[in-house]
């Protein structure tokens, strides 16, 4: 062979170990909305369908959308209100139309810095293969009781909102009848409505912060429409019940988020749902030695979604926790396109500028901008607190690249601003300035 490096390279197995390496692919880890969009975009950018492989650890494609049976997906991308399974279905259809192979029940065990992927599935057994490029689309997981350290006993009846959602929407079984929800993340808000429609009594949603963690539209449609109170600056201070939850104690918190004892009161209930935040799943990224952002808990990427390990891309909730699946799709399409360019031999960027959060901004993704790029760069960010009457300001060195008026920004809603790649001549900062 001459010239170009072979698209796929078989990995020599250690002596005495026979590992199946027959499937040599551009490997997309995760078959949820991010993985599906990345796969389709990579294919449309010129990678042969058969040279792509989507690995999904659940028994079907679609990811968490499969249990999100409520409407509201696709408003931005399709101008329609789709349910989660409908939204996923559109991309699954696109995947199938292109003949892109996928394996379900496939769990990736490790990824090396030189992109050797090991996965297991009941069908394929243990597989190790050399990928030309990898897209990490592994989604996120829910924060748990242990991570926020809720005191009290450890009975049945404490669920993360997502596992309760799975029980109700996939298994058709109710996890409780009298419910308190801690945390105002979107899944918690959605579940408040869902459980109410299923005949449960949702007593309240308590949120330790002084702002709502979820989208304003979900507060209106899931709580206000059902007279479910949202208590900001409140938290659960105790869980009572030995075998099953019998009740929880709720208290107001001070400005340091410490409970004010005198405000504590008891709410009888049999179920506590937790919607206290999402954490990008990056165990595989860690195994490959990919640099992670301490704030987002996702990979550090450039505008092409490329991580610190060349040829490995990250997108979707594994990169940063999104509010809207439409944005996941857009981000994943960019990652898929970039992965396609990488395998076709586009040179790696030599110089990278940094992006950094400035006033009122908590993080910016991408964290790096490869010099010499063209087209638009979308900078996503979240603010540290609610700001009314403000402007988003992007600066590069002393130069102001962009200034956009905003009526209000809140930490619960991801913001974005688009700049031109050709304008970036140095490190970039994003600030939200109060007017």
């Amino acid at each position: 062979m001459q010239g170009k490096e072979p698209f796929f390279r078989r990995v020599p197995s250690p002596a005495n170990i026979k590992i199946i390496t027959s499937m040599d692919k551009l490997v997309i880890i995760g078959g949820g909305p991010a993985g599906l969009a990345a796969a389709v975009a990579a294919c449309d950018a010129g990678v042969a369908a058969n040279d792509i492989l989507v690995l999904e650890r659940d028994d079907s494609l679609g990811g968490i959308l499969n249990q999100c049976i409520h409407a509201g997906f696709g408003l931005h991308l399709f101008g329609e209100e789709l349910s989660g399974p409908e939204y996923a279905g559109r991309f699954i259809r696109q995947l199938r139309e292109r003949g892109i192979p996928y394996v379900t029940d496939a769990m990736v065990l490790s990824l090396t810095p030189d992109r050797i992927v090991s996965y297991v599935s009941p069908k394929d057994g243990f597989v190790r293969l050399q990928a030309s490029a990898v897209v990490l689309a592994t989604g996120c997981r829910e924060r748990t009781r242990g991570q926020i350290g809720i005191p009290g006993t450890r009975p049945a009846g404490v669920f993360t909102a997502g596992s309760a959602q799975r029980f109700v929407n996939i298994e058709n079984r109710m996890p409780g009848s009298r419910v308190v929800i801690l945390g105002s993340g979107d899944i918690g808000l959605i579940m408040a409505r869902r459980l109410t429609l299923e005949g449960a009594k949702v007593e309240c949603v308590a949120e330790v912060m002084n702002y709502c963690g979820g989208l304003a539209r979900n507060v209106a449609q899931c709580l206000n429409d059902f007279d479910i109170p949202l208590y900001l600056s409140h938290t659960v201070t105790d869980i009572v019940g030995k075998k099953r939850v019998e009740g929880v104690k709720i208290a107001e918190v001070d400005e340091n988020r410490n409970p004010i004892k005198s405000t504590e009161y008891y709410v009888p209930c049999d179920t506590l749902l937790l919607s206290v935040g999402l954490i990008p799943e990056n165990e595989i990224a860690k195994s490959a030695g990919i640099t992670l952002d301490r704030v987002t808990s996702g990979a550090v990427v450039d505008q092409n979604n490329q991580t610190s390990v060349p040829g490995v891309f990250a997108c979707g909730n594994a990169l940063q926790v999104h509010d809207l699946v439409d944005n996941v799709t857009l981000e994943a399409q960019n990652a898929g396109k970039s992965a396609a360019a990488y395998v076709s031999g586009s040179p790696a960027p030599s110089v990278c500028y940094k992006t950094a959060p400035a006033d009122n901004v908590r993080y910016v993704v991408p964290q790096k901008i490869a010099a010499g790029g063209s087209g638009d760069i979308k900078l996503s960010f979240r603010v540290t607190g609610t700001v009314r009457g403000c402007e988003t300001v992007v600066k590069c060195g002393g130069t102001e690249l962009k200034r956009i008026k905003k009526r209000v920004v809140t930490p619960g809603e991801m913001e974005s601003v688009t700049i031109k790649a050709s304008d970036v001549k140095g490190d970039v900062t994003v600030a939200v300035e109060k007017k």
Partner: protein
């Protein structure tokens, strides 16, 4: 039918006693209040195999600790129980502490603890790089270890079960009565089981089996068991490397002190505090307790990141209220020739347990139990295969022989459906979510069951031929699901 021996309690003391008795031609029954083995103090403790220098020489604790500690290592290796001989440090921070560790050293020598030495200066930090620089010296006991306590109790129970011992769960003993032939009947108020000899290993409930009946020599009143709660914080395995040894501090006026230790599964455990509670089942954690533990941990290891906590829990220890502060392994006042109490087995009860069981069996022999070795006894349990620990080739073969081994159910701990099915089908297999969690660690990782608990619930229902509504977290009353959705 009359059993030869009934053991009340399937904690580590009861389970080990059943394991030791299984070597003899005896019919043994274990009665357990909880829904599984190791439901009480054995469920939640520091998981330390103490070397044996703490106990006052001459006491039962002193006599049984060193032998028990050695035996735990042997049993763990034989029965494939997670165990690590990591060694322990008792850290001194001032002169008073240094006197204390010298005293412990002398006790250890008297108790027969092997290879102890006092470490000072730079050597300390070579051995334990993240140890507080305020530490001046430490008593190093290389024989100390860490073990998975519930796997140890489960493993020896499996062996006992395979050799003929019976186990009944969800049986809360309410009383013991004497039959005409001298045998005893142990009842929960509804059913009863009879045996020629009864061992009370009921942990925090031991003093309630026969009221006022635990009365060792030299005590002026019967021993009560005080439930003493200890709270813990468990850190993610990403913190795993921060401590190499089990690190104790010296006790002070404020209490026994908080330890930092690796666990047999690669996490870090921090705790416990000690608070007397009125309810022996009070395993709640408190904000004050967690704050106390966190402060204690930072004293030993200032750089420890407690934000990597994956869970907090509490265990209740059976502290005997007595002059000797020793284990109360004594014959009953009321049924002296039939009932033996093995009560007040608090720390180092886990490390002592095999020796405690030997001691209990010896006394049963003195009481008249015929200890005839059973030539058919087999000291083994069905092999435990852990997917995560397999080589790539073993993984390939495991999946080829059964595709369920290729389906990962618990993502965080990489636990396959094959392992979960095995945990359910084993002798004394898992019957609830916590049972699966303790046997194979599904749900024990950083997502704490967020992803896998619906799947494990479904597998349990399928394997047990039950409906998902019947599946519990930890026995009757802790059902996970309530009713169909509309």
């Amino acid at each position: 039918m009359t059993y030869d021996v009934i053991i009340i309690g399937a904690g580590i003391t009861g389970a080990m006693t059943a394991y030791k008795l299984a070597r003899c031609k005896l019919r043994t029954l274990v009665l357990e209040k909880g829904s599984d083995i190791a439901s009480g103090a054995t469920r939640a403790n520091s998981a330390i195999v103490h070397a044996g220098y703490d106990a006052v020489p001459g006491t039962l604790k002193g006599k049984l600790g060193v032998d028990g500690s050695r035996q735990v290592g042997e049993i763990a290796r034989r029965l494939n129980v997670p165990y690590k001989n990591c060694g322990s440090f008792v850290c001194a921070f001032d002169e008073k502490d240094e006197e204390h560790i010298k005293m412990l050293y002398d006790r250890g020598v008297a108790n027969g603890v092997p290879d102890m030495r006092i470490i000072r200066g730079e050597k300390l930090f070579e051995m334990e790089p993240n140890l507080s620089r305020a530490c001046t010296a430490a008593l190093y006991a290389p024989s100390a270890g860490i073990v998975c306590p519930w796997t140890l109790a489960t493993a020896v129970s499996e062996v006992a079960s395979l050799n003929g011992a019976d186990f009944v769960f969800n049986f809360a003993v309410s009383g013991v009565s004497e039959n005409a032939d001298g045998s005893l009947t142990v009842t929960d108020g509804k059913t009863g089981y009879s045996a020629r000899y009864v061992v009370n290993a009921a942990g925090v409930g031991a003093d309630k089996i026969v009221e006022g009946d635990i009365w060792p020599e030299g005590e002026d009143k019967p021993v009560r068991i005080n439930p003493r709660r200890g709270e813990y914080v468990l850190l993610d395995s990403e913190m795993g490397g921060i401590a190499r040894h089990t690190l104790f501090v010296c006790p002070s006026e404020k209490g026994k002190g908080i330890l930092v230790s690796p666990t047999a599964h690669g996490n870090i455990i921090v705790g416990p505090n000690a608070n007397e509670v009125s309810d022996p089942d009070d395993t709640s954690v408190t904000p004050e307790g967690i704050a106390e533990i966190s402060a204690g941990a930072r004293k030993i290891m200032p750089d420890i990141n407690l934000r990597t906590a994956i869970t907090q829990f509490a265990g209740v220890r059976p502290t005997p209220v007595c002059r000797s502060k020793d284990y109360c392994i004594v014959r009953s006042k009321k049924f002296p020739s039939r009932l033996l109490h093995a009560a007040g087995i608090e720390s180092p009860g886990l490390a002592s347990s095999p020796a405690v069981a030997d001691y209990v069996v010896g006394i049963l022999g003195e009481m008249g139990l015929e200890l005839i070795p059973d030539p058919d006894f087999r000291d083994e349990r069905p092999p435990v295969r852990r997917f995560k620990e397999m080589s790539d080739e073993e993984k390939r073969l495991a999946i080829a022989s059964d595709p369920a081994w290729g389906r990962i159910i618990c993502r965080c701990e990489t636990i396959t459906e094959g392992e979960i099915i095995d945990a359910i089908r084993r002798p004394l297999g898992a019957r609830d979510l916590d049972g699966v969690k303790r046997r194979v660690r599904a749900g024990m990782g950083r997502c704490q069951g967020g992803f896998c608990s619906p799947r494990v619930t479904a597998i349990l229902a399928r394997e047990l031929g039950a409906d998902m509504y019947d599946i519990t977290k930890k026995g009757p009353g802790s059902e996970i699901l309530m009713r169909p959705s509309k």
